[in-house]
Symmetry: C2
């Protein structure tokens, strides 16, 4: 298990020294008060702050055989940055609650910090990890809180879609689900347990899908652009287009009609695949879509079905529900 002297476990270190190793990787604070006090103080110039939290748990949400520490940090940041973007806001700070077994290597913790920082750099420059918490747990768990600034904009809710609006998406759909399929079909042993990924065994397209699953790259910067471009409703597509569109439809009291011809070649993955963290938004008809958004359908008056695909109720699998879909036995 590596050289213990050079890569100690967190159980061999004090909380303070683990924390210092993390902080060294995170770069300079951008906050009014950054890490190290009882709480951070973050600017919220227009008198409001957007706030969301999402957790990644070893087993249901990731497997260490498949995700590196860097991947895990990147994904934990990205999924939360996407939620801030989906309100029309720009991320300003992350707080990270990291619970991990005592046997976790320090190199894992610093790799995770590198992934958090890289996701902020790539997806939300100016946003940093400004606080957090370390705890011991039998189950590796990363809960990230993301804060964001609306800069005077009205938040874009799920409930604002109106009949006649154009339904549009920014970011790709179905890739993360295909990447998960690659993992389950190609990198499990006979008992169904994950085994390490051999990227050399993959086609470029498969590697691309795998990257979307392990290090999602949501178009965070397009959230504020959608708000400025008149979006009437917006949300993050985390559980599949159909399931998330049905949530938007219910919140708005409308039906959402999707045209499968606008979803690319792999329609099934685009409709049902989760974890892409694309942005789903509606815009007034006739308004030019912000660059990066593409039309996928239209909002209709509420009917019996919340989502229609090519005019018909969707018959396939609806998306991901952690309490229904996770088989703990293969965790």
């Amino acid at each position: 298990m590596g050289d213990e002297r050079r890569d100690p476990t967190v159980g061999e270190l004090s909380e303070g020294s683990v924390l210092r190793s993390i902080l060294e990787r995170l770069g300079e604070s951008n906050a009014l008060v950054g890490p190290g006090d009882d709480a951070a103080v973050i600017a919220a110039a227009d008198g409001r702050v957007v706030a969301t939290v999402d957790t990644l748990v070893h087993g249901p949400d990731f497997r260490l055989a498949w995700s590196s520490a860097y991947d895990l940090g990147y994904k934990a940041a990205a999924v939360n940055l996407a939620d801030v973007a989906a309100m029309g806001a720009t991320p300003t700070a992350l707080l990270v609650a990291l619970a991990m077994p005592e046997a976790t290597r320090l190199s894992f913790v610093t790799g995770l910090a590198d992934g958090l920082r890289a996701a902020c750099r790539d997806l939300a420059p100016g946003c940093r990890v400004e606080g957090g918490d370390l705890t011991v747990s039998d189950t590796l768990t990363v809960a990230v809180t993301a804060l964001g600034a609306l800069a005077g904009r009205a938040p874009v809710l799920r409930s604002g879609a109106r009949p006649g609006d154009v339904v549009a998406v920014a970011g790709r759909l179905g890739r993360a689900a295909r990447g998960l399929r690659v993992l389950f079909e190609r990198f499990t042993d006979a008992a169904g347990h994950p085994v390490p990924v051999d990227e050399s065994a993959l086609t470029p397209a498969e590697r691309d899908d795998l990257g979307a699953q392990l290090r999602p790259s949501p178009p965070v910067w397009l959230g504020p652009e959608a708000a400025d471009g008149g979006a009437t409703a917006m949300m993050d597509v985390s559980d599949g287009l159909v399931l998330d569109a049905s949530r938007m439809a219910v919140a708005s009291g409308v039906s959402i009609a999707i045209e499968s011809a606008l979803l690319g070649e792999d329609v099934a993955s685009a409709l049902a695949g989760g974890e892409d963290h694309a942005l789903l938004a509606t815009f007034p008809a006739g308004r030019q879509l912000p660059e990066g958004f593409r039309r996928v359908g239209v909002v209709q008056a509420g009917g019996r079905d919340h989502v229609l695909v090519d005019g018909r109720p969707y018959e396939g699998r609806g998306g991901w529900d952690p309490y229904q879909d996770w088989d703990a036995g293969t965790g």
Copy 2:
């Protein structure tokens, strides 16, 4: 294990129905945008937001044989409300990331929600749970993010203590540690595993200590009062007075001299016992302490020792460090 029809497990329910059961218990939102969208939007009237996160993990931080769901919710909120208070701020919102085994009963989840709400009601009226996240985990984990408002005040940092300042505490010290001792000494079996608490076997004082451990009641409202009263430094005493005072001393470049005669009868518990979430603050000499604070010592110029007790370096156990103190074998 109860009547499954009347008290289903979360594994038998959809995420949405678990969420609805929680939201029903939390009361009306006080936020600009409350639960149900991609993120909450919280008022931050003076253009800043205070933000902190703390996690309670089954095993190191609580045992279900000892803590009810209500206790757990109460404590998870209270420890975070105290961190906001320690900056001189008033809590405005909580976000709760709850990761739990599929076998968790719905009644447990609603009990936890009741505890979260009660802590807000008792300690920070106006603050509510305004968002969160549900996940499946083998290890029950509650990560709470607390946000707060400074209302124009400068945040009170750990680093502002100056030689000559009075060192003061609000809230009781040592009770939570005595409560933990009651649990370990009286409510474990021969193998050291926790067994349910029989309160009828306890004296009133023991019940009082147990309550401080299971449902801490930090003086959250005194945080802003300390700031208004001129506090030069402040922090939450979560890991014991000596250990936390030494952190303040290091941050401020001073020594903190504590007088044991000012600590009540159980000096050892007051010095080393963690989890009280009292407020430790320093005030300019000669300034009247805000009501609720009492003097426990004085700030001196930085010397070889960060904390002195009755003029001597403290020789006892310093406090709680999760990576050093938790024996996973008895979890």
